[in-house]
């Protein structure tokens, strides 16, 4: 047995191997899809995330069955915590569900592809550059796509602004309408406390070419995370003016806000 296959057998339990193979992602002959997702790397990612999800953040997910078993779907959540841990946990919750699991794709900041190693690694785990064309092509491919419409406004916010939803972009609603994709809202509670930031050093962020430079402890705190998936929301594809699209976005935002409040009321303690 080669070292690589020995390590693989140790790191990837047989049940995970079978679980990922069962999902049957549309991939090419070498295990890749056009966005760089890789089935074999995914197994390592899944195995590692299981530890993070179950042991470190002790995630409690409710309503994950609300995500339809097939067809295009947009999973819309609030964004927080400096690092895209929320995307990882929402993705794992769906990929690990007992009944009809799906490996969703997370739309990530435009800054990640420029980061060596990390950019490719995120792609291999299924994360995709947050470009409307990518999202459209993936919905056309019947993928489940995780979108954080707040973008860096949400992930980069400071601890004092926790659980206050920032402005939502309208892009996701246009795509949901065009591709007749239901929207599953998700309220994420707990990620705000993983990396509490007290300030953002904007000149440093600008100099480094990164979206924000938080002043925070260099550790990820083991806050307990609650994920609440709401029932799917359906919108027709009628040609409507932008202000009506914004109204629809506000409906999704209000539902996420309700799910966050639900998570906050369920939470007994921070850690």
């Amino acid at each position: 047995m080669s070292l690589a296959s020995y390590l693989k057998s140790k790191l990837i339990p047989a049940d995970i191997n079978e679980h990922i193979n069962r999902i049957r992602k549309p991939i090419g002959s070498l295990g890749y899809d056009p966005w760089g997702y890789n089935n074999e790397v995914m197994k390592y990612g899944f195995s590692l995330t299981r530890q993070i999800y179950e042991k470190y953040f002790r995630v409690e997910a409710h309503g994950v069955e609300n995500v339809p078993a097939e067809g295009p779907v947009l999973i819309i959540a609030n964004h927080s915590g400096q690092l895209p841990i929320d995307g990882l946990l929402v993705g794992y919750a769906l990929a690990s569900r007992e009944q009809e699991p799906r490996i969703p794709r997370a739309m990530i900041e435009r800054f990640f592809p420029t980061v060596p190693w990390l950019g490719n690694l995120l792609n291999e785990f299924g994360a995709v550059l947050g470009d409307p064309v990518n999202c459209a092509k993936m919905l056309a491919n019947n993928e489940a796509v995780i979108v954080f419409p707040e973008g860096v406004r949400g992930s980069g916010k400071l601890y004092r602004d926790r659980y206050q939803l920032k402005r939502f972009g309208n892009g996701f609603m246009h795509l949901a309408m065009k591709y007749k994709a239901p929207i599953v809202p998700v309220g994420v509670v707990g990620c705000e406390e993983t990396i509490p930031a007290i300030a953002n050093i904007k000149p440093l962020a600008k100099a480094l070419g990164i979206p924000y430079a938080p002043v925070a402890m260099p550790v990820v705190l083991p806050a307990k995370v609650h994920l609440n998936f709401g029932p799917p929301m359906y919108f027709d594809d009628l040609e409507i003016p932008e202000e009506l699209v914004t109204e629809r976005v506000e409906q999704v935002k209000a539902e996420i806000s309700r799910l966050i409040d639900k998570g906050l009321s369920e939470r007994k303690k921070l850690f």
């Binding site: 090419g28 002959s29 070498l30 890749y32 899809d33 056009p34 966005w35 760089g36 890789n38 435009r110 592809p113 420029t114 980061v115 060596p116 190693w117 990390l118 950019g119 490719n120 792609n123 995709v128 550059l129 470009d131 064309v133 990518n134 092509k137």
Partner: protein, 315 residues
């Protein structure tokens, strides 16, 4: 009763492996004339072959003498060859002359080979780029300007002279036996440079499949621009591994560092102006071509890479 006339076709870029594959597929049913900018090649007694500069007046004599019905323009000087100025003359002015003559002599079918490089490699590229995406390459490097200009020119002629029936093909990396482009020389080398921490998704098409695609395109006069790529993808560094190449990492950040190193080293197979293509993916969507021309590549990636693994000496 008169015998039906065999189609007369002018094939440019005859010294290249791709043109020779196309010629071999067509020679039984067509009367071919081969030309090349670089050298004269012997292609058998039945195929007249010329080394000719398209911008020179004698080029027109070929049109007068052979009464072509169609042109397959594969003679694009690649970005790694010649100086920028000579390349511009050959690719842009040469192509303009070719298209002008095609119009003047009533050519009914023109196939032009372009490249996926015209899309340009930028961090914000979505995957599965389709033919209507903007061509960003010219803004990235002056060395890719001629590729974009060649396309623009062909596009202008496509709309101005619809009777020419111009089809522009933008293939992904063409690889396989005899191919001498940068990607093929990287895959066939023992040691291949990589940008540390970057392994963009890439697409490869076997030279025989590409020749097939060109012949199919020629036979069905549908105008337009088409990407040509199989529905299979692989990360660059994984491809090198499967080809048995040792990967030599080049520091990748900040971006000026790899540019400086590559400009100093002047590696032919890893030129500095193509750095971005080894950093960011340019994944094209070849489905429109596959649908329109009923095209399905036959050689899988594994077969392509096995060839390079077993032929480590320059091919």
């Amino acid at each position: 009763m008169t015998k039906q006339r065999r189609p007369h076709i002018l094939v440019t870029g005859a010294a290249g492996a791709l043109a020779q594959r196309v010629i071999n597929q067509l020679r039984d049913h067509c009367d071919l004339v081969a030309v090349d900018f670089r050298e004269q090649v012997y292609l058998g007694d039945d195929i007249p072959s010329y080394c000719i500069d398209f911008t020179k007046r004698v080029f027109e004599d070929l049109f007068r003498r052979y009464e072509f019905d169609g042109v397959i323009h594969l003679g694009r000087i690649q970005s790694s060859q010649l100086t920028r100025m000579r390349r511009y003359n050959a690719n842009v002015l040469g192509t303009q002359k070719l298209l002008d003559l095609s119009h003047k002599y009533g050519i009914k079918r023109v196939v032009v080979l372009s490249t996926y490089h015209v899309y340009g490699a930028v961090a914000y590229n979505p995957a599965l780029i389709d033919e209507s995406a903007p061509l960003k390459a010219a803004g990235l490097s002056a060395d890719l300007v001629d590729s974009v200009e060649l396309e623009n020119l062909a596009n202008i002629y496509l709309w101005r002279y619809p009777e020419l029936n111009i089809t522009i093909l933008r293939p992904c990396n063409i690889v396989g036996p005899g191919v001498r482009n940068t990607m093929s020389s990287l895959l066939s080398s023992e040691n291949a440079p990589v940008l540390a921490g970057f392994s963009p998704m890439m697409q490869f098409i076997h030279i025989d499949d590409m020749a097939d695609a060109i012949v199919r395109a020629y036979k069905k006069p549908v105008r337009g621009v088409f990407n040509v790529a199989p529905e299979d993808w692989v990360a660059y560094q994984h491809a090198l591994k499967l080809c048995g190449c040792r990967r030599i990492p080049i520091p990748s950040i900040p971006p000026v560092v790899p540019n400086l190193i590559l400009k100093t080293l002047k590696l032919k197979s890893f030129p500095s102006y193509l750095t971005a293509f080894f950093k960011y993916p340019v994944v094209i969507d070849g489905r429109a071509f596959a649908r329109e021309f009923d095209f399905k590549p036959k050689r899988p990636l594994k077969e392509i890479f096995r060839f390079y693994r077993e032929n480590k000496r320059p091919v």
